[in-house]
């Protein structure tokens, strides 16, 4: 127990000290911040796809709603950023419930379709509703968030701001999954009829997971807007939804660490793949295809130490058997 606590303390200390290493490298910090935002968004998708088994190809829509709502509220109405972010996440949640009400009944490919349509509608709206969203020119000069006298205006400060949020959200996610609600959500994923039979309200739990998921992704969108300070419709296309899915599948779904690994690996990885230029999406597509065909359970299960030990152990016993024979 003490050892376990020590482990957490060490991890926390490392995370806190990490920016100090890159003190002159503001760009790398920005990259880390982006990665952490993706961790939040992908964790949201994980709650939906990983735990409740419902696919969404429209998460860029929630991301966009979060980003645009928070940006517009803070610029046009001067609402403090922290509140505008929460409001934005709330609005994304509301949209999710609206979508989920009919969508929760559909089989997955129709669900995929309705979420794609949702994402496309949000994208088209954002791109063409000029008076509100400034169309393709995008919205610039989005203010940084602040808490009292603390203003998170540099990448370093934003890193710590995000660290706290990510920690809170991930712990909360873990709490939900292990609660009665979480178990019900997983039960629905595993077997709809059985969970219906033991008195779980299937529809409500599906809608709930949609709502939770959208809250995470919407908040991530808002955090993204205030980090970069500029948003335009190109960041919220169907490609973005697919990138979220690739991250989730790469890391491994229905898992605490999966989204973290997937989001960080791909964010940093793409940065170094910048040399590929236009071929980036080709890499993403091929990667997604390879993952789906060969390692559908994600990286986390490939490099799972306990399994590795088991496999090694099996090998040795097999060898022993061979020797005996």
């Amino acid at each position: 127990m003490l050892q376990k606590k020590m482990k957490y303390i060490i991890v926390a200390a490392l995370l806190l000290a990490l920016p100090l290493v890159f003190i002159g490298n503001s760009y790398f910090l920005l990259l880390l911040c982006t990665g952490m935002i993706y961790v939040i968004a992908v964790s949201g998708l994980d709650l939906l796809f990983g735990y409740s088994g419902q696919i969404s190809l429209g998460h860029a829509g929630f991301f966009a709603i979060g980003a645009y709502t928070s940006a517009i509220l803070s610029i046009k109405l001067g609402i403090p950023v922290v509140f505008s972010m929460l409001f934005a996440a709330g609005l994304a949640t509301m949209f999710a419930v609206l979508i989920a009400l009919p969508a929760a009944r559909l089989v997955h490919h129709f669900l995929a379709l309705i979420t794609i349509s949702f994402g496309e509608i949000v994208y088209l709206f954002v791109a063409h509703a000029d008076p509100l969203t400034n169309g393709f020119s995008g919205i610039g000069f989005i203010p940084s968030p602040s808490l009292g006298f603390l203003v998170f205006d540099t990448n370093m400060k934003y890193y710590y701001f995000l660290l706290v949020i990510v920690a809170v959200l991930l712990l909360f996610k873990n709490r939900i999954i292990r609660s009665r609600t979480g178990r019900a959500i997983i039960a629905v994923r595993e077997n709809i009829y059985a969970s219906d039979g033991i008195g779980i309200n299937v529809k409500n739990y599906k809608i709930l997971s949609f709502a939770l998921s959208a809250f995470y992704t919407g908040l991530a969108g808002a955090l993204y807007a205030h980090l970069i300070g500029f948003i335009s419709p190109e960041s919220f296309t169907l490609n973005q939804s697919i990138i979220f899915l690739t991250m989730l599948l790469l890391g491994g779904m229905g898992n605490f660490y999966g989204p973290i690994i997937g989001a960080l690996v791909l964010t940093l990885g793409t940065e170094y793949l910048q040399v590929l230029g236009n071929y980036q999406m080709l890499v993403y597509g091929s990667l997604l295809l390879l993952i789906v065909v060969f390692i559908p359970s994600g990286l986390i299960n490939v490099v799972n130490l306990r399994d590795l030990k088991k496999i090694l152990h099996k090998r040795t016993t097999v060898k022993e058997n061979d020797a005996n024979a």
Binding site: I55, P102, V107, H109, I121, L282, G285, V292
Partner: protein, 281 residues
Amino acid sequence: MIGSIYGLIAMGYSLIYSASGLLSFTQGELLMFGAFLGLTFYKYANLPFVISIALTIAIMFMVGVFIESFIIRKLVKAKANLIFIVLATIALSIVLKNFAMLVWGSNVFQFPQIFKTGFVKIGDVNVDPTSIMAIVVAFIAMLILHFFMNKTRFGTSMRAAAQNPLAAKTMAINVSRTTYVTWGLASALAGIAGFLIGPVYGVHLEMGTMIGLKGFAAAVIGGYGNMYGAIIGSFIIGIVETFTAAYISSIYKDVISFLVLIAFLILKPRGIFNSKVYDEE
């Protein structure tokens, strides 16, 4: 015009769905691919129109067979969750799109005019002859498919395999062959559609994505898995779109199409011709 293109795409979706209960998101990209192939044969290789469309169809058929036997079959054999198969087709569509970018680049290409005259007068309206040709060819393709499915031995065995693979197998039908032929046909249909729409809207990388989604919408509206429903659904979507563009705004024509789709998914998810869509039945 646009309705008949959607029709070809939607029929592809329905074919695949009724044959294997699977859903492919690659149709739109296959259309783009077919358009590029057609462009290559017709414009750069200078082949006659009929030969280049035949070549396009043949190659697209092979592409469909290839997709089924190397990706889809593997996933089905591994008893993968349906969601993963959907995801694989999405991944495949990204790969196709970017592969096309590697080969042909990301410019918009003009298809050379197929007919010498600019316009044909029908009554008081000037109509582009390529559009008429598109409608005619699409209609012929639909008719051929109809007769193939209903009047030939192989078509009948395809329908049998789709209805009940096990029973079909006991009747000595080669189910694995009917499955890949189905995928091949769907892909060929998308190829034809691409070839037909190329001269009207130009050939570029993004051309397939939206049409693919709309074709999907059409298939849903008609009742998923029903070939004839797909055609009717396509004309509904085509008409809705054209009227929106004419009377409301061309910017929002896509939005309206999606709203119609969502409305159908909510109110009448079985489409005009009932088909099974619910998760819990």
